[in-house]
């Protein structure tokens, strides 16, 4: 956009329709909250949300099916290209699954405003209130996630970032059980999120100062032409990186992840752990490959350090965790590290595309497994709600062999054992990394995955090799939604682990043209 002559903007509605559908549905949801009687809301919101996500997915597929566009949509503000469409696909499916998880009153507070244990709390519970705002919030967040990786200039990206994050901040605070933890998670996530987005914004400002534009294309162009303001550039890039790395939870910006994942309602954790990671990586790739592609010699060493640190911190710290959700949080940090090795693997065009497709595949594989794992977590409960503490999981294999078996399978997938999706994800990324000449990084990667294997295995030991505790947790009779989620995730993990080729092909096609500029 150059500001001198104002031309009427053109909007490719077809391409943007997925986002439009999601946002539209979200707004309708708000209206529903406003006007529909309480007893109706849920029965409206639920289908509405699912339909919206489904519709968005369909339109995404349609958009993808009639050829990849070569120019950015909406006056170059939104780049609906292969990677975006693939990421949208993943996000929408995962969001759909997570939405199924939410379909369960037990998780969300009856009335967020009510003080825990207070009279009106009981009142709210008795009269069967349900915080149905959850659904529109979810839709807004998803909308943000769709826009985030697709945004082709930093401003849009910033807005998307906020649109994605703000609803999540709220959702984190809505757990019905363990309200204090939930609210604490919410406040921490909010403050830190705001803090980091300030960094993002400042970095954006500096880049704007450097390039005279926040358009990714323009910035990369400026890298060639502009000279003498390197400090501005580097500081800007650094702060931008901080904002993005915070979102993917890379060390040393990972501190929020364990707390938030543990405190938030598990359904929301599932959503964040899967979709937010996907969206954030999309954005990260776009910024660093499109805008800063020519700068890679400068940021690669940085990324090396971050990747190594992230992998090791994630793996090592997870070993001593005692809360299952917290452990999974650290594992997701470690996985972010593995993914970063792919981000670094730039080089020739086809090297890039292979790295990109590897990352896309990894994201898909990891997303499904994660949602599945958290879905299982929601089902293992005791008096105080979900039985988070690992010791409570002892002997689960005897109580609920099938559930424990599936969970063990997910864990093996996280650990990257062959014939699970996790293995091929790791394999693809590491292959790309080696191709990109990052062999040492891969060695660190495998060492830390060996360490990581330890705590996944530890949980299996607990579930299968230890005798069950006397007052062990009960397995909640899973709602249709939850069991569907588990089944879907397990199926995906198996299929991607045995016949990854179709998805790989899809990822390749998506990555073939790389990001449009």
């Amino acid at each position: 956009m150059n500001g001198t002559t104002i031309t009427a903007p053109t909007i490719e509605y077809a391409l943007l329709s997925p986002m439009l559908i999601v946002f539209g549905a979200a707004i309708i949801g708000v209206l529903v909250e406003a006007f529909a009687p309480r007893y109706l809301r849920k029965s409206i919101q639920m289908p509405l949300t699912l339909l919206a996500l489904l519709g968005a997915f369909v339109t995404t597929v349609l958009a993808a099916s009639n050829g990849l566009p070569t120019t950015a949509a909406a006056m170059g503000a939104v780049a609906v290209d292969g990677p975006s469409l693939f990421i949208w696909g993943i996000i929408l499916i995962l969001a759909f699954i997570s939405a199924l998880l939410i379909n369960d009153d037990e998780q969300f507070v009856a009335q967020a405003a009510a003080v825990p244990g207070s009279v009106d709390e009981e009142e709210a519970v008795r009269s069967g209130f349900a915080q149905t705002e959850v659904y529109p919030l979810l839709l807004f967040a998803v909308g943000g996630m769709l826009l985030f990786p697709a945004s082709n200039d930093l401003l849009v990206m910033f807005v998307a970032l906020e649109v994605m994050s703000l609803p999540l901040y709220l959702l984190c605070g809505l757990a019905r059980r363990r309200r204090l933890l939930s609210q604490e998670a919410s406040v921490k996530y909010f403050l830190l999120g705001a803090f980091s987005s300030a960094f993002f914004l400042y970095g954006m400002a500096l880049l704007y100062g450097y390039a005279g534009s926040v358009d990714l294309k323009a910035i990369s162009a400026a890298l060639g032409s502009v000279s003498g303001q390197d400090t501005l550039l580097f500081v800007g890039v650094a702060m931008l990186a901080v904002g993005l790395l915070f979102k993917i939870g890379a060390a040393p910006f990972q501190a929020w992840k364990p707390d938030v994942y543990q405190g938030a309602p598990t359904a929301v954790t599932a959503l964040m752990a899967s979709t937010v990671l996907v969206a954030a990586f999309g954005a990260l790739l776009r910024v660093f490959w499109v805008a800063l592609g020519n700068l890679d010699w400068d940021w690669r060493p940085l990324m090396w350090g971050v990747a190594i640190l992230t992998m090791i911190v994630g793996a090592v710290l997870a070993i001593t965790q005692t809360d299952i959700k917290r452990m999974l949080a650290y594992s997701s940090i470690a996985h972010a590290g593995f993914l970063l090795t792919g981000v670094i693997a730039t080089g020739t065009a086809e090297q890039n595309s292979s790295a990109l497709s590897a990352i896309l595949f990894y994201l898909a594989a990891y997303g499904f497994t994660t949602v599945g794992a958290f879905a299982v977590v929601t089902m293992v409960r005791d008096a105080g709600g979900e039985a988070g503490h690992l010791s409570r999981w002892a002997g689960l294999g005897k109580r609920a062999p099938v559930l424990a078996g599936i969970f063990a399978f997910f864990l093996l997938a996280f650990a990257g054992i062959p014939l699970t999706s996790g293995f091929f994800g790791k394999y693809a990324v590491f292959t790309a990394a080696v191709g990109g000449g990052a062999l040492p990084l891969v060695v660190v990667g495998v060492v830390s995955s060996a360490i990581a294997a330890f705590f996944y295995v530890r949980v299996i030991v607990l579930m299968f090799f230890n005798e069950p505790a006397a007052d062990g947790p009960t397995i909640a009779a899973p709602s249709v939604g939850t069991s569907a989620v588990v089944a879907l995730a397990a199926a995906a993990t198996v299929v991607l682990g045995v016949f990854p080729q179709p998805v790989l092909t899809l990822a390749d096609q998506a990555a073939s043209a790389l990001f449009i500029r």
Binding site: F195, F234, D298, L302, A318, Q321
Partner: protein
Amino acid sequence: MESPAEIIPHSGGVIGVSWLMIALPLIGAAVLLLGGRRTDRWGHLLGVAMSLASFVVAVASFMELLGLDPEQRRRAYELYQFIPGVADMGILIDPLSISFALLITGVGSLIHIYSIGYMSHDPDRRRFFAYLNLFVAAMLLLVLSDNYVGLFIGWEGVGLASYLLIGFWQFKPSAAVAAKKAFIVNRVGDFGLLIAIFTVWTTFGSVAFGEVFGKAGEASQNTLTAIGLLLLLGACGKSAQLPLQSWLLDAMEGPTPVSALIHAATMVTAGVYLVVRSGAFFEAAPTAQLVVTIVGVATLLAGAIIGCAKDDIKKGLAGSTMSQIGYMMLGAGLGPVGYTFAIAHLITHGFFKANMFLGAGSVMHGMNDEVDMRKYGGLFPVMRITAITFIIGYLAIIGFPLLSGYFTKDGIIETAIEHNAILGWLAVVGAGITGFYMSRMVFMTFFGKRRWADDAHPHESPAVMTVPLIILSIGSIFLGGFLVLDNRFMQFLAPAVGRPEELPVFHFVSPAGLATLALVAVGAVFAWFRYGAAEVPRVAPRGSFLTTFARRDLYGDALNEALFMRPGQWLTRIAVFFDNRGIDGLVNGLAAAIGGTSGRLRRVQTGYVRSYALSILFGAAVVVGALLYVGNM
């Protein structure tokens, strides 16, 4: 000298099926072991039958061999491919192997028969016969095989049989330990034999006797010496020669027929067979030959000395066995002439020593398994046959003129003297000592006062035991003369071991012979005064240092303990400790370290949002710094 005859491929005839010698007892063993209790009633009979059958085959093959012209008397044939390209299972029938076969099956059968009586009260008699058959089969494989690998299989096979039979009464810890000891010490010898085989293989590209001996001359001196010494190590293990002698005396834990068959007549002489069979190598390696003779002499003296101090009749005999095999070794180190006498002595010894062992067994049988000669005495009247046969064997071993031992041992001594005076005369001295300790044994057992335990009612053994004694004693009388006089045996063996230019003539009167006789007489008389005429205390007196020295087997075991056992135990303990604490400790330590790091690191996650913010800010600073640094590089 004239070298041995060529080994000729053979087919057909009795020799063509001579493998039955091995197969039959093997089948016997298999039937008895697999058949289990079902075969208890007739098991021993089957065992005897198989042994006799294989004796028959041996005799038949022997006849067929005699039918051939001497130069044709080395026949070999392949049974089947064993290890393709390395070794085949093949049988070699030549004078040497057939004489062993006859000894093994003949004496073996007698001992089988004897055992029917001796083991009659043992519930596990069937198992005993199974093992005996197994032994016969293995021993025959050892001597009949036409290559070193086959020989080695038999070699270890007899080791196994010996292990099983020494430990036959395994519920006695002493027996179990003795069995184990025998096997392990033998393994040390086998180690040498294995390396020897490897060297033969890498040097000649074959392990078949037919191929390697011919080329022996071409190999380098060192190689041949190495082969010779390694073979000797193997021989020492099997034949209880110094320094691997220690197991033989313990081996007496086994039932007496076993001692007679395995630890006197046959197995322990396998070492001699090995050396004689590999003569081609030794003749080309004088050093090795010399060592052989030295080992022989050393052992013959050591065995004799040990024999002097033993009150246990079987151990006494064991000592004498050692010493007699020493003589054979000595002979085996002296080239073709020596070979002949060695083998001849081996055969006669097989007879009279088996004879005496069985006699001792018969005595024990009557004295309800008492072995301490100090508890014997004056047994002659109560068990005449046993006594007489025993005494015949005794006369034979001390070399009483015209008895077997006289010819064969004297032959060895004569040859030794003209070969190497010192060794020869030492052998003479050994003969003298033999005279002493054997006489001592006889006097303490059959003459003098009756020092029996109160509950002892000695009686003559049944015919099934005495008949073999008689047969053996007849052999002990005539065999030696028959073999040695006008070099019958030398002529017969010549195709197998070669023939010296001028054949030795047996002098009935020779300085060495006379000296030997004199010394033996002295020894015998001395023994008479100490054990025949004089009072023999029922408990052994402390005795001089020398006596204890001999009683303790010349401190052989003490030496082994000090040199191998104790250090070995320490080494083991250290290794185990190192494995648990060292290697495994390292691994677990690493794991613990990571865990600890994790435990400490997670403390950083204080839970205060402001500290998280700080970490973000810090991280941001680092990132900025890094980028600026890299960018401005």
